[in-house]
């Protein structure tokens, strides 16, 4: 509407076609909408393409969740249940598999208190960058003692010394392929739930040469970590502790108060 005083009676009045929902659409309006609607729909599709392109590579993780596989090896707790499979395929070296249950649950079922008992395990393999995990089948005999093989005499880990490492605490199951991506801020709540449920926490860090490294986290005394790490999950952190290596697997005994947000 213009200034009532200035509107000259000789200007033709601006008369856009008027739309009423229950009356026929005037032809000029129909033409306008015929152009505007496809244009808007096109913009929406372009927005979809642009938004989708911003997604990050979730990493080379795999979850073989088809038919369950059978494994034989020795069970150890370090402090999380781990299956040590000697002579895995033709590599002539031991392979380590973290053991977990279905869902967001650690493998609480091993009743064997002493390390080194021989077991059969059946479940689904997860792996990423050479790190491996078995998600046990829910059946009660998915993990059972194998009396045909002697116990393993468990050797001591190699002590590396006190270190401070920077990286992100992830829940090993999602990170190794249960969810993709299984790391970062958007996965923080899930990672927290997983770790609360007993999934082994792992620090994803880079070594001196910039290569990715994965380090199992436990308490100063070698126990599973509890609520003290919950506030730090999925955030950038620096962690101080005693680094140990055992059969190629690394773990950090986190010093009390040794985790700091960056």
């Amino acid at each position: 509407m213009s200034d009532p005083n200035s509107s000259s009676p000789h200007d033709p009045p601006f008369d856009p076609p008027f739309y009423v929902g229950y009356l026929p659409v005037p032809a000029p309006l129909r033409r306008f909408l015929g152009i505007a609607a496809p244009l808007a729909a096109g913009l929406v599709i372009i927005a979809a393409l642009a938004a989708s392109v911003t997604q990050r590579d979730p990493g080379p993780a795999r979850w073989n969740d088809g038919v369950a596989q059978q494994f034989r090896g020795h069970l150890i707790r370090w402090p999380y249940p781990i299956l040590l499979v000697s002579d895995d395929s033709a590599k002539h070296e031991a392979s380590m598999y973290l053991l977990v249950e279905m869902g967001k649950h650690g493998a609480e079922r091993p009743k064997w208190s002493r390390d080194g008992v021989a077991v059969f395990a059946s479940g689904w393999k997860l792996d990423r960058d050479g790190r491996q995990m078995i998600e046990l089948e829910p059946a009660s005999d998915a993990l059972r003692e194998d009396t045909s093989i002697p116990r393993l005499a468990v050797s001591s880990p190699v002590q590396i010394g006190t270190v401070t490492l920077k990286g992100e605490i992830v829940d090993s199951k999602c990170y190794l392929g249960a969810m993709k991506p299984g790391e970062g801020k958007t996965h923080k709540a899930c990672a927290t739930l997983c770790i609360k449920g007993g999934i082994p926490p792992v620090l994803v860090t880079r070594d001196a040469s910039g290569r990715l490294d994965h380090i199992l986290l436990c308490s100063e005394t070698g126990e599973a970590l509890g609520s003290e790490i919950w506030p730090f999950i999925a955030d950038p952190v620096a962690i101080t502790g005693e680094l140990e290596v055992w059969h190629g697997l690394k773990r950090l005994r986190v010093s009390a108060g040794g985790i700091h947000s960056l």
Binding site: D15, G21, Y22, A41, A51, T54, Q55, P60, K180, C194
Partner: protein, 364 residues
Amino acid sequence: MSVGYSAVQWSHHKRVYDAIAAGAAAGYIAAFLAIGKVLWHGQHAISDEILVMRALGSCAIVLLHVILCIGPLARLDARFLPVLYNRRHLGVMTFLIALSHAALAIGYYHGFGVVNPAYSLLTSSASINSFASFPFEWLGLGALLIMFLMASTSHDFWLRNLSSRTWKRLHMLVYVAYALLIGHVALGALQTNRGDLAPILMGLGLLLVCGLHLAAARREHAIDRGQNPATSNSETWLDAGPVASIPKSRARSVCAPGGERIAVFRHAGGVSAVTNTCAHQGGPLSEGRVIDGCITCPWHGWQYKPGDGCSPPPFQEKIATYQIRIVQGRAEVNTRPLPPGTPVEPARLGESDLAGAYGEGLHV
């Protein structure tokens, strides 16, 4: 309110509108999924659940941008009014898509665990002390609750039961929801997405919404300034300009000193003044037309008789009317609103009042 109200509740227009909106949403989701699958496949594939969750969430926020832009676009160019007409369907659709996104996020990220998903949603992030690690899911939850309130009260039943004012206030919360969602995305997805495109897209969206709202507000402000309250002859009578320059069956809006807008309509029976605010959702009546002898709102077509501000039977809506007179070819409005539905005799036009007038014979 429209005479044919009950017969046209779900008109052909609405079906076309819904089909286009649903088609665009489906197209969005399909395009998002396709790109995600092509970009990251094989060993690097994104989990299907996460891909769908992202497609739904981002689709909902794109639709929310469309919803927020329709209002100012329609104020800037009346040809966008048909898009406004059925905006509530778009709103309900957006809510349902956002709800699916949230259900998937809660089920997938908060399910399968040692605590129930709702408890996990509210407690899982133990670190609210740092800004970057703030649980962005809570912001999404807040927005979803607002969207739920709006979607569930979107029917005219609620409009009547809550009073137009309360309803309007409730629906202004959409801006709160929008702000919460910017936080939801900025503290969530933007922390992990690659490159700069995601924040740029978000910024463009914000710029578009703010820019259109500012442009519409400036225009409104300019219109108000255009009418000069100083020309009121006394404290109560406000000059509304020459009658002849109001096209037939249309209106001019004037702004009373208190800020209240008044619509001055020229119709077959003379000149009448009513509040500019529609009783339905506050649509600008002065941008409407007189159709079948009734003032017709540009937003959803509710109707009022110019002589008394009452909707034609059987409808019972009423709007405030104003006393009006014509002095030397200029309309003058008494700025004191009369109670809604008060009959006011239209000011009659003399031959000389209409010298050079438009629209004789237009809009019968």
